[in-house]
């Protein structure tokens, strides 16, 4: 049944959202974003299977490409931040705090 797959997808998305909101370690925030993207991928594949339409699988390939690009830039930013500030804690990064 499609609802089982969609519930797994929703669970992954909610877990990722919790990780992004509640954690302060930049590495784990990036990992949580990956979890959210994977949750969306499961939903896309489930609907692709339901309608027997291959376009959903092409969509998932695009999402994977964007995820790879996002991770490479995100980790590069993390390295730059760590080099300048010696921290990976988002709570310590408040230079823009008025």
């Amino acid at each position: 049944m499609i609802s089982h797959y969609l519930i797994v997808s929703a669970a992954l998305f909610a877990i990722g959202a919790y990780g992004v909101l509640a954690r302060r370690n930049l590495l784990i925030i990036l990992m949580s974003v990956e979890l959210m993207l994977n949750g969306v991928n499961v939903a896309l594949l489930a609907f692709s299977r339901l309608h027997q339409n291959t376009q959903g699988q092409v969509f998932v390939l695009m999402v994977m490409g964007v995820a790879a690009a996002e991770v490479s830039v995100g980790l590069a930013i993390l390295i730059a931040v760590f080099r300048n500030r010696k921290t990976v804690d988002t709570g310590d990064l408040k230079s823009l705090n008025g």
């Binding site: 990992m31 594949l45 490479s72």
Partner: protein, 166 residues
């Protein structure tokens, strides 16, 4: 098979966001990705399952582990966490979000119909490399090229950001 894979995926996902040390999170993410690959296979997407293992565990997870080792954080450098009540409140909010999405979806009683068998042997089965490749390069060639430009820009940006001096 599906229930086991779903439990592994969601349970490992919970471990990813609750572990304090990023290296344990990365290991839990590996288990989560393996469970996801099984779910992809159950959804008749063998090509996507293979690509998922290659890209996510082969590239993204290795990149994460590489950065974790590069930073080499001591336990006291891991940074603080929000106080426990705040985290419980956010967990409640996210559980509410999950309920809000999952409850209407659980009413969806549609089942997967058996796959249509193609009469043309060249067309390939659903989810096969032939079918996905045809859709990707015939109908979505522009999106494919744009993704390649995006990835190239991301590679240059990554080098530019991470390099100490150009």
């Amino acid at each position: 098979v599906f229930v086991a894979a779903a439990l592994v995926t969601v349970g490992a996902g919970l471990l990813v966001v609750t572990q304090r040390n990023p290296i344990y999170s990365a290991m839990a993410m590996l288990a989560s990705f393996m469970g996801l690959a099984v779910i992809y296979l159950r959804l008749e997407a063998p090509f996507l399952a293979a690509i998922h293992v290659l890209v996510y565990t082969g590239a993204i997870l290795v990149l994460f582990l590489f950065v974790i080792m590069l930073l080499n954080l001591k336990p006291d450098e891991l940074g603080g966490e929000y106080p426990l009540p705040t985290r419980f409140a956010i967990a409640g909010l996210c559980a509410g979000l999950f309920g809000l999405i999952a409850f209407p979806l659980s009413q969806d009683k549609r089942v997967f119909s058996p796959l249509a068998v193609s009469t043309n042997p060249d067309a390939g089965d659903f989810g096969s490399v032939v079918r996905v490749g045809t859709a990707l390069f015939r109908d979505h060639a522009l999106a494919f090229e744009l993704i390649s430009v995006l990835i190239m820009v991301a590679v240059f940006g990554g080098v530019l950001l991470a390099k100490r001096k150009l």
